[in-house]
Amino acid sequence: MRLLTHNMLSSNIKGVINGFPLRIEADNVVVKQVDFNPDFLKNMFSKIDWKALAEASKIMGYPELPDETPDHSILDSDDFLQKFHHALLELHLEEGALVCPETGRRFPVNKGIPNMLLHEDEV
């Protein structure tokens, strides 16, 4: 699972009000190279929750993103776009867990697939 997906996912447990961001427990992170597409990044930028991405990226071993949401003008910087690209699309959480920030419920991640299935009493 890439941080792009992590940035969209939230905990869906009944009664949870703020299920985002899911805290990452990273046991194994792999890097897979993908084509760099600045148009996609520029388009995505406004939808990304920046703090969640920067924090997740740090946990995944890549502390290169600014902590605070950068100004839109930063999208002109190729250096920034490369880092954004790497964090968003190339870091994969292979093994570990996603943890609901409100309840502490762990959603295990196996072979890159988070198991978000809820138990009966969580629906």
Binding site: M1, M8, L9, N12, K47, I113, P114, M116, L117, V123
Partner: protein, 289 residues
């Protein structure tokens, strides 16, 4: 169609390792799913500006539909309830991320972030109650409500589906409308039993010209008559927006006239003796004559 998989077992049981493998090793299935996905993407009507969008694939299974999304240059992640199907998707090294999840429990996604969603041959599964705790209506409500929230305004969701009957189609649609979607059903090749394919095209947000149900060759009719209406058009559109409730001829349990006529025709073709059709056919009896 007595062999509807939906009626055999819950999806996570039906799509076990064996079925998941069968699914992607059949070149026939692979071809069909690619074609359906291609059409669904077309109906999504994403802006034609070359910018990759972020799409959701609901019931992504072994990733066949996702591969079509990738081929069209977009980013995606998918959700599916069957681990076996997802494992096959892993083997096929799909570009999109995979999430093990049940759409009937609602999608746990941030509001307004998705540029669109497709779902190929999956949503009809929601109409079954596979567990004692399953209430199809609640699951449909949770699903469409959460889908509506995660889509950006004006974004679309396109579902290719195989409803079991009119009532099921109406049920699915009614929950989509209740969640706030506008849209309707597009039926490709309505007169061919083999090629006939059905797509639910939904748009998120207030109605505008872009929320009108797309079609190639339009014939305005409602779903009750789509099997009877003659004509050569290859594509029909059934628009549901703002149709007053009363005019929806399909009641929850009742049979429509078209359903009865079709049934009678089928019985006749089997050689059964069936009363002739008249204006009284399928009318409700007064409680007393």
């Amino acid at each position: 169609m007595s062999s509807r998989p939906e009626l055999q077992a819950p999806p996570e049981i039906f799509y076990d390792d064996v079925e998941a493998r069968k699914y992607t090793s059949s070149s026939r299935i692979v071809g069909i799913q690619a074609e359906l996905s291609e059409r669904a993407l077309e109906l999504l009507a994403l802006p034609n500006d070359g910018i990759p969008r972020l799409l959701l694939d609901i019931g992504c299974g072994s990733g066949l539909s996702g591969e079509t999304i990738s081929e069209n240059g977009h980013q995606w992640f998918g959700i599916d309830i069957s681990r076996s199907m997802l494992d096959v998707a892993l083997e096929r090294e799909t570009d999109g991320d995979l999430i093990l999840g049940d759409m009937g429990q609602g999608l746990g996604l941030r509001p307004g972030v998705m540029d669109g969603a497709i779902s190929i041959s999956a949503v009809q599964w929601l109409c079954n109650a596979d567990k004692s705790c399953h209430e199809p209506r609640l699951r449909l409500k949770a699903f469409f409500g959460s889908l509506y929230r995660c889509l950006g305004r004006g974004a679309r969701a396109v579902f290719q589906l195989y409803p079991e009957n009119n009532a099921q189609r109406e049920l699915i649609l009614s929950f989509a409308m209740r969640a706030g979607f506008a849209g309707g059903v597009v039926i490709d090749f309505p007169h061919s039993s083999k090629k006939r394919k059905e797509y639910l095209v939904l748009t998120c947000g207030p109605p505008s010209t872009s929320t009108m149900t797309p079609s190639a060759k339009v014939e305005d009719s409602n779903s009750c008559s789509d099997d009877e209406s003659s004509g050569d058009e290859e594509n029909q559109t059934v628009s549901y927006r703002n149709r007053p409730r009363k005019r929806q001829k399909i009641t929850k349990k009742g049979k429509t006239r078209s359903w009865v006529l079709k049934k009678k025709e089928k019985m006749r073709s089997k050689g059964n003796v069936v009363p002739p059709d008249s204006k009284y056919t399928a009318r409700k009896r007064k409680s007393r004559f």
